[in-house]
């Protein structure tokens, strides 16, 4: 108890008012342990969701690159046949291809080059001149052109029975299907993770509400309406969600950048070409980083929204 002197009414204007009275405390008590645990859960979930979103963007970009690279090319393969001269067949096929509409260039891969392609499998030192090795002709399409393959294929076969036309369409289709699967899975994983985040926030909010039942009751008595109380809880969970989402998002961006760095580091190694072929340059680009950011923001928004709904539900139950 302060001294009795204080009981007498004081002249109110004598002392200057303290400047900073309010510590801007939230009206509902903050359970730091539970709060931190929830933030960690949100950070981890955001990290996972952001990674799968990044992977989906990566797959989308890579598949675009494949399609671009693969679909503006066709190849003709000439199989060796002991009854025919392979050089003549190559020359005839090249001539026919050059006559086709929409073809920019035709190049017969020289024998030395195609032999080199086989080296990794057969080793050096083997004289491939003796071996019946198929020959390749690469047709570059003019951008946007659609040559009449349906007619050209059979015509080519008639003239050169050893020729096989490959317009890579099967490949493109398979790659697209694969890429779509990856993108779809990424999407599903993001949805699942967002659902998990929502549930975690709902449970945490319930816990917090049950823990501050007394405070909520007092707030009601001093004239707070449900809106006000819901806002108090919501702002707290949005803050938690924002912090957790930011931490998870930043971690995901760092992880993706690190993988990109590793990929570029490996690209000096011989396996690089295969890696590049599969993942593109392992660059998710701005779209990827935007997706990661979006995930983090959505997580924070969900935290706020779910806590609000949970609080309102709970307050209705109390009434």
């Amino acid at each position: 108890m302060p001294e009795t002197a204080e009981y007498e009414p004081e002249p109110a204007r004598e002392k200057p008012l303290p400047v900073n009275l309010r510590r801007d405390q939230p009206l509902v008590p903050v359970d730091t342990v539970a709060g931190r645990a929830l933030m960690a859960v949100i950070a981890i979930l955001t990290f996972l969701a952001a990674l799968s979103a990044g992977a989906a963007v990566l797959a989308a970009r890579a598949s675009e690159q494949w399609r671009g690279a693969v679909s503006d090319e066709m190849t003709i393969q000439i199989r060796p046949d002991s009854h025919r001269g392979i050089e003549e067949d190559v020359a005839r096929a090249v001539a026919m291809a050059q006559a086709l509409d929409g073809i920019e260039s035709v190049r017969a891969v020289p024998k030395a080059e195609s032999d080199k392609l086989l080296e990794p499998w057969l080793g050096t030192g083997l004289d491939l001149v003796e071996l019946p090795v198929p020959r390749l002709i690469v047709l570059k399409l003019r951008p946007g052109a659609t040559p009449d393959i349906a007619r050209f294929g059979p015509a080519l076969r008639k003239e050169v029975p050893t020729a096989i036309l490959d317009d890579h369409r099967l490949w493109v289709r398979r790659l697209s299907a694969m890429a779509s699967t990856i993108i779809f899975s990424g999407f599903v994983v993001v949805l699942l993770v967002l659902t998990a985040a929502a549930l975690a926030v709902a449970f945490a909010t319930r816990g917090a509400m049950a823990g501050s039942r007394e405070s909520v009751e007092v707030l009601h008595f001093v004239g707070a309406d449900d809106d006000f109380i819901a806002r108090e809880f919501q702002s707290r969970f949005i803050r938690l969600g924002l912090r957790g989402g930011a931490a998870g998002g930043v971690a995901a961006i760092v992880a993706i950048a690190f993988l990109g760095f590793l990929a570029s580091f490996w690209s000096t190694a011989p396996e690089a070409e295969q890696l590049q072929a599969l993942f593109g340059a392992f660059e998710i680009g701005w779209a990827g980083y935007a997706a990661v950011l979006l995930v983090a923001i959505v997580v924070a928004a969900i935290a706020g929204l779910v806590s609000r709904i949970t609080v309102r539900h709970y307050l209705k139950m109390l009434a």
């Binding site: 004081e10 109110a12 303290p18 009275l21 405390q25 008590p29 008595f221 309406d225």
Partner: protein
Amino acid sequence: MVRFENVGLRYGMGPEVLKDINFSIEPRSFQYLTGPSGAGKTTLMRLILMALKPTRGLVNLFGQDVSRLDAPTLTAFRRRMGVVFQDFRLLDHLTVYENVALPLRVLGKEEASYRAEVVELLRWVGLGERMHAVPAVLSGGEKQRAAIARALIGRPELLLADEPTGNVDPGLGRRLLRLFMELQQLGTAVIIATHDLNLMDIYDAPRLVLADGHLHVDA
């Protein structure tokens, strides 16, 4: 302003704590609510606060039957009342200043608009030096004064004070009683629940006496 008609209340399956309660509180009136411990004073206050629903009978507040109030009206009614709980019910994680400012803060007012008012009231109840303390470190009497200040800050039309002088020395008790009387002069209806006979002798006012669940008025 408050009217009870044949109100009865029981907690769960227990006996009826209040039976056939009939009384009314006029605006700007001053009365004591008294009776032995366990008579149901706090229960009666909780009925007026709409924290309890009567098991039977009619509770009428500010001219409306409380059994069919919507949420916004209920909130509006609570804003017209100030209440001092017997167990104070201060929020533990807030300072005295924040606790007292609470009724204004929940109205959505800017902190700057009520700061001076809150500080003045805190000084008046002798908590000028303690406004940054949290309830956990306050003495019982200091908590009580903080609770009273919180009830007064919104200038309520109806003040319910449950044992507001139970934890203070007689000098401060008298001073607080004067504060309540001043409040009544300014237009607030005051109900003070107490079993402190000395207090009731200081200022003579009608007494609502609870005994055996029944209420009678000693004018």
